[in-house]
Structures are given as C-alpha cells and as structure tokens.
C-alpha cells in the first residue's frame, strides 16, 4: 500500500472539506471494496478520509412512499432491518447475499454505490427501483448516477449521504455469483413500481443497465413466461473465463425469470 495521510473527521462538513482540499483525497466508508484496491495499489490516494467516526448517515426510515437508507448503514444492517424487510424485502434479501458475513458487517450502502463496481449488487437495486442517490449537495436519479466502469456522476468531494428507494409493489433480486469472488456474474433486480416495471442487470457489463424489452414484456404480463423468446444481445456484455458473454446473456434471462417468480 502506498503512503497516504489518514483523517478521521467527526462531521460530514469536515470530511468533505478534507477531501476537497486535495485532488488525490478519497473517502473511506466500510472499505470492503476500497481496501482491496489500496492493497493492490490500484489506487494511490494522497489522503484517506475515514467516515468511521461520523455519527450520522446511519439511519433507516420510511418517509411516505420512500425508504431512506443512510450511506453508512452496513449490508448486514440492511439485511436485518425490520423496516426494510417490510418496505422492500427484495432489498433486504439482496443485502443478505452480498459478499460474505464479514464483508456485510463492514461494507456500507454508500461505499458500494460510490465505488460503482460493475459486479456489485446494490447498483441493480438502485437502478431497478429507480432510486435517488442523495449527496451533500443534490439528488441524482439512479438512471443518471452510474456512468461507466467504476464511474459515477459524483464530483470530487461530493459525498453520498443516503439513498432514497421508492417503495415498490413488489421486487426481487436473484444473482448468479462468481464462485470464487462471490461478486455477481449476473444479478437481476425486478421491481413492480408505481411508475411501471423495472429490470436492472448487474455483473454482466461495464455498468449496471436496464433491459427495456424485459420491462415491456413484464409490464404486459408479470410472469416468467412473458420473457420467453426475449434475449439480451451478448455483444456488449463482458466475457471472461468464468462466464462468456453468451453465457451471461443466457443467465440474464434465467435470473430474470427467477426474480419474477420470487417477487414479493
């Protein structure tokens, strides 16, 4: 790991000021993605600004038709929150399947969202539910938030403070995990929302994406059979030794059907 200055501010304001003060500064939340990156020296920040001492950003609450989850809420907390289980059980189930127990104990919603790993699970929920990423300065629709491989609409020094998930009628997430890393080779989030059916896919391409053809078919008939004959073209999907693009394309269909079956 390359040397850096470490900061552990107590307030959001201080944290943001510290990151804004240096171009090479980075926020550190749970660190379950960021620490491996640092260890492999894939990133060499000048300053690491820990959010660990900040008391805020840890709330979960329902506000009207929205579920608000603080950025520092861990995956484990999401998976066990009675409010989330009631409001969006598909989100709770997704969180329960992230990484492994130790990762869920440290990893946070905000960290995962800001890191935007193309194989992470949360981006599928954000896009699938049409969530909004709330930062210290604005609200960004999930459709606009994920912009590429490990890339988001966040500006330098902009901090994710919470995510607002519209509470759907029903939702579910089913993933096909990489057998070594446990990241999603393909993860599909299906939601029946007030604004229609949304289907989001993670793991299969350079960034999370929606499948319009699936959404249209499911809007007509919310059943696994509605997806019969509809395929996702594999040309733009990732392929590697664990799963070729063709196989991933096939798995998107299978996982989507299973998610439809699992809707609740």
């Amino acid at each position: 790991m390359k040397d850096f200055q470490f900061h552990r501010p107590k307030t959001i304001k201080d944290a943001i000021a510290l990151v804004q003060a240096s171009e090479g500064a980075k926020f550190l939340a749970g660190g379950q993605s960021f620490l491996p990156v640092l260890k492999l020296e894939l990133a060499e920040p000048s300053d690491v600004v820990s959010l660990g001492a900040i008391g805020e950003l840890r709330d979960v609450r329902v506000d009207g038709d929205k579920l608000l989850v603080g950025a520092l809420v861990t995956h484990d907390e999401v998976s066990r929150s009675p409010e989330i289980a009631k409001a969006i059980p598909g989100l709770a189930a997704l969180a329960a399947g992230i990484g492994d127990a130790q990762v869920r104990n440290r990893g946070t919603l905000g960290g995962s969202v800001a890191h935007a790993d193309p194989s992470a699970d949360y981006p599928a929920a954000l896009l699938g539910l049409g969530a909004a990423v709330i930062t210290d300065r604005r609200s960004i629709a999930a459709d606009d938030f994920f912009t590429g491989l490990f890339a988001t609409a966040l500006e330098h020094g902009e901090l994710v403070t919470s995510v607002a998930f519209p509470i759907p009628k029903r939702s579910a997430y089913v993933k096909f995990a990489h057998r070594a890393s446990k990241y999603a080779l393909v993860g599909v989030f299906v939601a029946e929302t007030a604004h229609g059916v949304r289907v989001a896919v993670t793991g299969a391409a350079n960034q999370v994406f929606r499948v319009a053809a699936f959404e249209a078919a499911l809007a007509k008939h919310m059943a696994p059979a509605a997806l019969d004959g509809i395929t996702v073209p594999h040309a733009e999907l990732n392929g590697d030794a664990e799963a070729s693009a063709e196989y991933r394309a096939h798995l998107i269909g299978v996982m989507a059907r299973r998610a439809v079956e699992a809707l609740r």
Binding site: F6, K39, L40, A180
Partner: protein
C-alpha cells in the same frame, strides 16, 4: 505515524504505526497476537477474522486506524482462564481442525453466527461460513463443530 488506542481482548492498547497499517498487521506485528492469520491478499479466505465491536470482520480489510476506540476480540481472547470457549471445545471434540491455520478465523466467524442465531441449521452454518476457506477438513467436521459449539454457547458454558 498514527497513534491508535483500542481495546484488544479487554485490555487497552496503544499502537504507533503508519496510516497504511492494516488491523491484522497491528495485531500480529505490533501486539504480537499471532493467532490471527493471513491466508490471502484479496479478502477471500477469512483466516484473519476477528471481532470488531462484537461483529466478525476481516482484519486484512480494515485499516488499524479505523479501529481507534474499538473493542477487538481475537482468538486469544476467547478462552477464559485456560478454559476453552464452548466453540473452541466443540472444534476439538468434533475434529473441526487439522492444520489449524484457518481455525482462528473459523471460530471467530462461528461465534458471531451463534450470537445472532443460537441454534443454526446446517444450511445456515454452511452459508455463513462463505467468508472462510478451509483446505483440510472438507468442512464436514467444521459444520458439526459449529452446531455443537452453538449448543455449548446456549448452555452458557
């Protein structure tokens, strides 16, 4: 250099280390608590699992500086006065260890499970242990040991 004060196995300890120091390095190299092991460099194997404020965490995937003020329990902190913790005793009873290298992480992970789920099913144990790799036992006896250890913990031993 950073100065970190934390509680390890109920004792308050202060460490001077570089900000890049991982928690596992602080434990092994600064505090000489070598029961916590390192088996990989990509946060997969779980040999370094310790409890941070009561929850199982991979000590290789956390900066020591992040543990400021935290309560850490390592494998060395489980047994009380020379008496094995029920989970440790169950691992011996059911031959849940062979080379012993993954064992501390397995036990720290298992005790976190049983704190949440006092009588875990076999399925629950096998899935909970996804963050811990063992190359010796084929997990058969580890699963048996964890369920027996859960019973021991329920018994309040």
């Amino acid at each position: 250099m950073a100065t970190i004060t934390l509680k390890v196995n109920t004792q308050v300890r202060t460490i001077e280390c570089a900000p890049t120091t991982l928690l596992v390095e602080a434990l092994r190299e600064h505090l000489r608590l070598t029961g916590t092991h390192v088996g990989c460099d990509t946060s997969q194997c779980g040999a370094c699992t310790v409890h941070v404020n009561g929850k199982s965490v991979k000590a290789c995937t956390m900066l020591a500086a992040e543990a400021e003020g935290a309560e850490i329990t390592t494998i060395e902190g489980l047994a009380q006065g020379g008496t094995l913790h029920p989970m440790q005793a169950a691992f011996q009873e059911h031959h849940g260890l062979q080379c012993g290298y993954c064992t501390p992480g397995m036990i720290m992970s298992a005790t976190d499970l049983c704190r949440r789920s006092p009588d875990p099913s076999e399925h629950e144990v096998r899935h909970w242990l996804e963050g811990n790799l063992c190359r010796c036992t084929g997990y058969h006896n580890i699963v048996k040991a964890v369920r027996a250890g859960a019973a021991g913990m329920r018994g309040g031993k």
